[in-house]
């Protein structure tokens, strides 16, 4: 469970990968509770633009966050062509909207890079670290910041 708390260079272990707009993102695998298909969604008027609505996860009410909006990427979801990653932070669950789910990846200090300075600051603030994988870069999100309002 400690891996959850680790950050940056110290972060080692497995992360759950997912794609958003061709980029490969990930969150620590221990913070992921499950991955589900799109559900009936209740919209929340007046809420932040990134809040897509509320879903009923077996009796628990979970807020669905659109990572594209959160990260300042173009919002492109039509119909239900997305997947939902349920993540746990402390006691609360949050649902993240992603394009598609990828493999679980191993990361370590060897693959670690700090977030590139050239990133858009509005994007960069949610990035914990970048890892060099074979042929592509994996962005590890700082869940705490993503989930914070």
């Amino acid at each position: 469970m400690h891996a959850e708390k680790l950050k940056g260079e110290d972060l080692e272990g497995q992360v759950c990968g997912f794609k958003i707009a061709e980029d490969l993102f990930s969150v620590p695998v221990l913070s992921v509770q499950e991955v589900i298909k799109p559900q009936a969604l209740t919209k929340v008027p007046l809420a932040d633009a990134a809040v897509m609505g509320l879903i009923n996860l077996r009796g628990q009410i979970v807020t669905l966050i659109n990572l594209r909006t959160k990260l300042g990427m173009p919002d492109e979801y039509k119909d239900e062509n997305y997947m939902i990653v349920i993540v746990r932070e402390g006691d609360s669950l949050t649902a993240l909207m992603v394009d598609e789910i990828c493999d679980v990846q191993d990361i370590s200090a060897k693959t670690y890079e700090p977030p590139p300075e050239t990133l858009d600051p509005n994007f960069k603030k949610y990035v914990d670290s970048v890892h060099k994988l074979d042929g592509e870069l994996l962005i590890v999100l700082d869940l705490e910041k993503v989930l914070k309002n």
């Binding site: 929340v44 509320l54 879903i55 009923n56 009796g59 628990q60 009410i61 609360s92 949050t94 914070k148």
Partner: protein
């Protein structure tokens, strides 16, 4: 406290109390429960100790248990049990210090003592008294024998032959045992022979044992214990209860979904099963809820001691009266209100009730009364803490608030009594002149208020100086499952907690009772009250659909902490029981939602927050814009306490106002609707011809004529005839901060004076004067003036209303005398001959009720007509008004109604 005796309620129902004459109260019940538990722990420990005599841990634990019983006995003043357990505790202490050795014989003595304590507890359960339980005979025998034994034992340890001394000791102990058996029976006999409440029962239950010896005693005890408190209750971990509660919550939702499906199904069997499931689930839900319910007495009972100690510490004489201890609340709520309640009780003792000398000096009974009363009211539990002390001192509160910078001087001068009283809830406020260790240790009333509001409750204070203070807490029964009304806006479901719901209104668009507009704000007139109206679609940022315009308008009337308003929704659905679930942190900031819930069909619905809707709304709207920076508490009381004014503009930089109660309707007329009837403009209105008065010309305000196509008119009904007052623009409806009226200002013709409304000065128009001036007496419909040659006494603390009432009475030809409170009115009555009294209810010094009672107590005034005219208009107040002697109780202020009542009484009298 990690665990909870689940079953206090059940224990009551099971008829545990064998005796009829005596009912074990909550605290004694807890004491007994704990006592029996400790006893079984001690017995267990003692038998283990016998196997393992050197285990100091066991001795310590037995010692602690005995100490607990002793402490609890002392607390409840079972002094005989206390002294007995004290003795046993000392014995155990000697074992602990190893001045006494653990031997089977010592264990025997201790077990014997434990049996005696058990018997004593049983006696307490039966009779409520521990008389005769000290069992000094036992103690003396033990002491006598032990001192010999111990001495010998200690000498023996020095002596070379320990074996023989041990034999010696056990020899004396054998004697002791024999004697103890006698003593025990004697003590039972002596108890039984005493003339105590419940002794008859005791006598019966012990009667066979007295003659037949020890075996029977034990048998009788076992028999008795079968029905005793200790066996009817088990302890369950609260976490388990909470979990069960959650699971049942889910089951309820699941049942709802199944019910919905079954209603669509053709299978009668499924429908039957679903109905059965429905019944079982409901029952289970009720039972699980009941496990979490505790009588509030468990908290209130603790105040007896608190009040006793505090009154001793402060030298005050206080009698605590508790009412409604059986009222049940969810345990989480009981936990949450414990501290606020304690604070309020301390506060009443420390600040409320005066020292006996002071009370005697002011003619009160030196014994102060503190009443704590809990009762169910409208799906909530209300708890009142009422003292008959000195009451809140407005001057002191104001001085303090000014000193601490909580209000500005300007604001302070305009605050009503009630608003001033509510200042005590402002953070940083404490009137204690010095910090005592009773109250005023930095935990203020604001904490009380916040804590109560946190659990969805409300706090209110009312006080009459010299007579006392009442704090009223309104607490929801449970936090877990609440009934709610489901409405729809833009197709989405929203739940509104029933607790905020006042009523539902459906208006068809052709009905004249439509929504009236003032500026951009909308209002609904409902049974004489003007309520602000909000549209849910608009608040939530939805587009108002066009076709809705022609359909019925659904209005939900809500009460948000005393502020009543209407909420227009697209559709009203049914009520449901919902489980409130918190919103994630992304949505926490949205104060229009109180949470979310899962509906019968599995969909998620947001729960609306009645208060949040108003706050969210007022931020960007013009109603109540000025009110946002008011002191806290203003919003909740403003609509009741202040004077609602319609504000409008004329050809002047000043803002003008008319009290809303005097305005019948707001209308808009087109220019071409105006006809001239003999030089005077009129319009057709409600099948009559209504004269239009141009306020600009009435008040001699020069300026450009309003040339717009349409113009706004305030419709006034006077002497059964409509008058239209034409104004430039209706600006707003606002609540004035006080009902004060600065009438020095009122030199100008047609102006009653100026009032402070929404942070600005408003000139209040004397509309009756204006109408009179425009038409002259003769042009008004003929009317029999009932007051010629008669005298009326008008009593009202608000100069503003006094003025209106005086004008109304003068209009009837009365000679008018005025008074600003009941006391003054009584003085005026002594020197004047009065034919009728018109009085307000809520006034300083002496209120209307007391005035009426005083008047009625004088023989020559028995039949004097008394008319109450008040904003405090509800069934309860009305009943009180009539009981105290008012001839009629009217709502403030309908001139027609008042005049009608007055003329009726005057004609009856003559």
């Amino acid at each position: 406290m990690s665990s909870l005796g689940v079953d206090k309620g059940l224990a009551l129902n099971n008829g545990v109390n064998v005796s009829e004459g005596f009912k074990v109260n909550e605290m004694v019940r807890e004491y007994l429960l704990e006592g029996f538990e400790e006893i079984s722990r001690i017995t267990d420990g003692l038998t283990k100790l016998e196997q393992d005599p050197s285990n100091s841990e066991i001795i310590n634990s037995v010692y602690r248990s005995m100490h607990t019983i002793k402490g609890a006995s002392a607390f409840l003043q079972f002094s005989e049990i206390e002294s007995f357990t004290h003795f046993v505790e000392n014995l155990l202490d000697e074992l602990r210090n190893e001045t006494l050795k653990v031997t089977p014989d010592i264990i025997d003595i201790l077990l014997k003592a434990v049996d005696h304590i058990t018997a004593a507890l049983n006696q307490v359960e039966l009779s409520g008294s521990d008389e005769g339980c000290a069992n000094e005979a036992f103690i003396n025998t033990v002491k006598k024998t032990l001192s010999g034994g111990v001495d010998e034992a200690s000498t023996a340890s020095e002596a070379p032959g320990p074996d023989s001394s041990l034999v010696e000791t056990s020899g004396t102990l054998d004697e002791l045992k024999a004697e103890l058996e006698k003593v025990d029976i004697q003590s039972v006999e002596s108890t039984a022979s005493q003339d105590l409440p419940g002794v008859a029962e005791l006598n019966k239950s012990f009667a066979p044992t007295v003659g037949d010896g020890k075996g029977e005693v034990e048998e009788a005890m076992t028999k008795h214990q079968e029905s005793s408190i200790s066996d009817s209750v088990i302890k369950v971990h609260v976490n388990l209860l909470d979990k069960m509660m959650n699971v049942v919550g889910e089951l309820v939702l699941n049942r709802n979904q199944i019910l919905q499906h079954s209603s669509l199904s053709d299978s009668p069997e499924l429908v039957r099963l679903a109905n059965e499931l429905n019944n079982i689930t409901s029952e289970l839900q009720t039972d699980i809820m009941a496990t979490r319910m505790q009588p509030i007495g468990s908290v209130l009972g603790k105040f007896e001691r608190l009040v006793r100690d505090l009154s001793r510490a402060t030298g005050k004489k206080v009698a605590l009266k508790l009412e409604g201890q059986d009222t049940e609340l969810d345990r989480t709520i009981i936990e949450a209100i414990k501290d606020p309640l304690t604070h309020l009780v301390r506060n009443s003792l420390d600040h409320g009730i005066e020292p006996p000398e002071q009370r005697a000096a002011s003619g009160k009974d030196p014994l102060g009364i503190l009443l704590v009363k809990a009762y169910h009211e409208g799906g909530q539990v209300t708890i009142e803490i009422r003292d008959d002390g000195s009451g809140l001192s407005s001057e002191k509160i104001l001085a303090k608030a000014l000193e601490k910078g909580l209000v500005t001087e300007e604001k302070a001068s305009e605050m009503s009594e009630n608003q001033i009283h509510h200042l005590v809830f402002t953070p940083g406020f404490s009137t204690a002149e010095k910090v005592t260790n009773i109250s005023g240790r930095g935990v203020g009333m604001d904490v009380v208020k916040t804590n109560i509001e946190k659990i969805g409750g409300q706090v209110d204070v009312s006080s009459v100086q010299g007579e006392g203070t009442t704090f009223k807490l309104k607490i929801p029964l449970t936090l877990a499952i609440i009934p709610a009304l489901v409405v729809r806006a833009n197709g989405e479901p929203f739940a509104i907690p029933q607790i905020n719901l006042v009523e539902l209104v459906r208006m068809d668009p052709s009905n004249s009772n439509q929504i009236e507009k003032v500026g951009s704000a909308e209002f609904l007139r409902l049974r004489g009250k003007l309520l602000p109206v909000l549209r849910l679609n608009k608040i939530l940022g939805y587009q108002e659909s066009l076709e809705k315009k022609s359909e019925d308008l659904n209005v939900v009337i809500l009460n948000a902490e005393g502020m009543v308003y209407g909420l227009v929704v697209d559709e009203i659905q049914d009520t449901q029981e919902i489980v409130v679930k918190p919103l994630g942190q992304h949505l926490k900031d949205l104060n229009v939602y109180a949470g979310a819930t899962i509906m019968g069909d599995g969909d998620v619905a947001l729960i609306l927050d009645a208060m949040g809707l108003v706050q969210g709304h007022t931020k960007d709207s013009d109603i109540g814009k000025e009110r946002d920076n008011e002191i806290s508490g203003e919003a909740s009381i403003g609509f009741h306490e202040g004077q609602e004014m319609i504000l409008f503009s004329l050809n002047s930089s000043a803002t003008f106002g008319v009290p809303l109660v005097l305005v019948n309707r707001l209308e808009e007329f087109k220019r071409d609707q105006v006809e001239l009837v003999g030089q005077r403009p009129v319009v057709q209105y409600r099948n009559t011809v209504m004269p239009i008065i141009n306020l600009n010309s009435s008040l001699n305000l020069e300026g450009e004529q309003n040339l717009n196509e349409a113009f706004s008119v305030l419709v006034i009904k006077n002497r059964n005839k409509y008058f239209g007052l034409m104004v430039n623009t209706v600006l707003d409806i606002q609540v004035s901060e006080s009902s004060e009226l600065d009438s020095n200002h009122g030199q100008q013709k047609g102006i009653l004076g100026s009032a402070f409304v929404g942070g600005a000065t408003v000139s209040v128009i004397d509309i009756f004067k204006v109408i009179e001036n425009s038409f002259g007496e003769e042009s008004l419909p003929p009317e029999v003036l009932c007051g010629v040659g008669k005298t009326a006494l008008v009593v009202d603390d608000s100069p503003f209303f006094r003025r209106i009432e005086i004008e109304a009475m003068k209009g009837q030809g009365f000679h008018v005398i005025e008074a600003s409170n009941g006391q003054e009115a009584l003085e005026k009555l002594q020197s004047n001959n009065v034919d009728i009294i018109l009085s307000d209810i809520e006034m300083p010094v002496m209120n209307g009720y007391d005035l009426a009672r005083q008047v009625r107590s004088q023989e020559e005034l028995q039949s004097l007509p008394m008319v109450a005219i008040t904003t405090k208009y509800d069934e309860k107040s009305k009943a009180e008004g009539e009981a105290s002697g008012f001839s009629v109780y009217l709502e403030k202020f309908n001139k027609e109604e008042v005049i009608e009542a007055v003329s009726r009484f005057i004609s009856q009298a003559s």
